[in-house]
Symmetry: C2
């Protein structure tokens, strides 16, 4: 997905929010904003929001000197989601279609996104997600595809949310699928890293690998060669969240994007409404 | 009032909204955004949002070539407010303190602002304004000051809103005050110009002059010398809206700022809440 004009004011908002996490000094905040603004005129027309997100957070870190301003909030949301885990597992177990319920939960959990600048309530998002009338939700196609594969590549997105991803993965594992869960290469915003995967014990249910990507999403040119090879060979890829959608929507791979829509631009790109949960197959027919 | 870090993303939003009024071409929109972004690093620490507002709209006009993208919406809101005028006059007349009611209406009318990027409903703002529990509303001080002067300088802000300003001015005229109503020097956003003043027949109740300012507010360095002289001599100045507040809040003059607070930055500066109406004397004691 290319940068929309609407993304540009949003980039500066994102830069300011990240700067504020590490300094109250307005002069430093202005410096970050100036450096990020200076990047705008040189932004290629085919850049994705993930490319710019990467530059924004590199700038924040270079100017202010923090490498992980979201560390505490990531732990907080991992802990919150872990607290919810037993009751969510129970709801999945008691539901008529446990995989569908788990997928809806994981999409609802994608609300935990400190990049988009909106306030959120995890429990509210979960209740809404479970009740939501699903529109353009390619679950039947995913089920069909799952019948044909043994291995699934699952691209994680955010801390906290990862606990809900784990519930989906447990459902997949109980169906005798082998899952590889992918995290970012470095801390960026509240995106998951190896540390989060370990904290929530994702490694007990999935093979956990890093994409090597230091952007808030997945863009292949920033990923390491091992991941690119794995990605290229995968027969079924579930990609969570805005950042993975923004960076991979133009890749010709068997992708299912699973996310909660949190901004008008992603909503326009998906033909969905802000606040809805979406499961969208990249290729509608045979993949 | 100086530019806050929060103003910077907002400048780009404002530029994009203005660009969208004249072109659907995303490349042109991106060009406007790039040019405005390029101004950010050079923005002096003591610049006001009005200074930058001026640059934004000059850039939009230079890149896209329109001189008045808000012309139609200005007429629309002048017409809407003119339709409301008879019933609002009646409500003022029937109220226990007609001047106070008129002032509250004029503050509520300041919601008609196409610079701040929020949706609004004029009628709702009026009903809310009339019911509002006024906090830090320097009406007693204004009344006291009105006793001591014969002439009032009234700085207008937006089209549509000007009709509600006229109701205040009619109240002042009925108290034998002489009012000079000030408009911007050129069309910018939906700010009032001589054309709007003439359209709503402001000239029948007040002496109408232009500040010469081509910014979306009043900043003396962009005003013409006649206005600066008038401003310097005035013993009581009512300044409407965000833009006049932002540009004049540091001037040491007998100013009363009358506005509806529409953004968190102006709210912080005034110690008020977003959505409230404010009448604030620049100097609390004797002026």
């Amino acid at each position: 997905m290319r940068v929309y004009p609407d993304c540009i004011p949003c980039f500066l908002r994102q830069a300011l929010e990240a700067a504020r996490r590490v300094t109250e000094n307005r002069k430093e905040q202005r410096e970050v904003l100036s450096e990020v603004a200076a990047l705008i005129p040189g932004l290629p027309m085919d850049a994705t929001p993930v490319d710019m997100g990467r530059e924004i957070h590199r700038t924040v870190n270079a100017v202010i000197g923090s490498v992980d301003p979201y560390r505490e909030v990531k732990k907080e949301y991992n802990d919150r989601a872990l607290l919810l885990y037993p009751q969510l597992k129970q709801r999945v177990k008691n539901s008529p279609d446990s995989l569908l319920t788990a997928i809806k939960l994981a999409a609802a959990g994608n609300v935990i996104d400190f990049g988009v600048g909106a306030k959120f309530d995890l429990s509210q998002s979960i209740e809404k997600g479970l009740r939501e009338k699903l529109v353009g939700f390619d679950y039947a196609l995913l089920k069909e595809r799952l019948e044909q594969v043994e291995e699934i590549l699952y691209l994680g997105d955010n801390a906290g949310e990862i606990v809900l991803d784990k519930i989906v993965i447990e459902e997949l594992v109980s169906r005798e699928k082998k899952v590889t869960f992918v995290v970012r290469g470095k801390p960026i915003i509240n995106d998951v890293t190896l540390k989060d995967a370990s904290y929530v014990e994702m490694d007990k249910v999935a093979n956990v690998i890093s994409s090597g990507c230091d952007a808030p999403g997945t863009t292949l040119r920033y990923c390491d060669s091992d991941f690119i090879e794995t990605f290229g060979k995968s027969k079924l890829i579930i990609a969570k969240g805005h950042g993975n959608f923004e960076g991979l929507s133009e890749e010709d791979r068997p992708l299912f994007f699973l996310l909660k829509v949190k901004c008008p631009v992603v909503a326009a790109e998906l033909g969905a409404t802000v606040g809805s949960i979406v499961l969208r197959a990249k290729v509608k027919g045979k993949m």
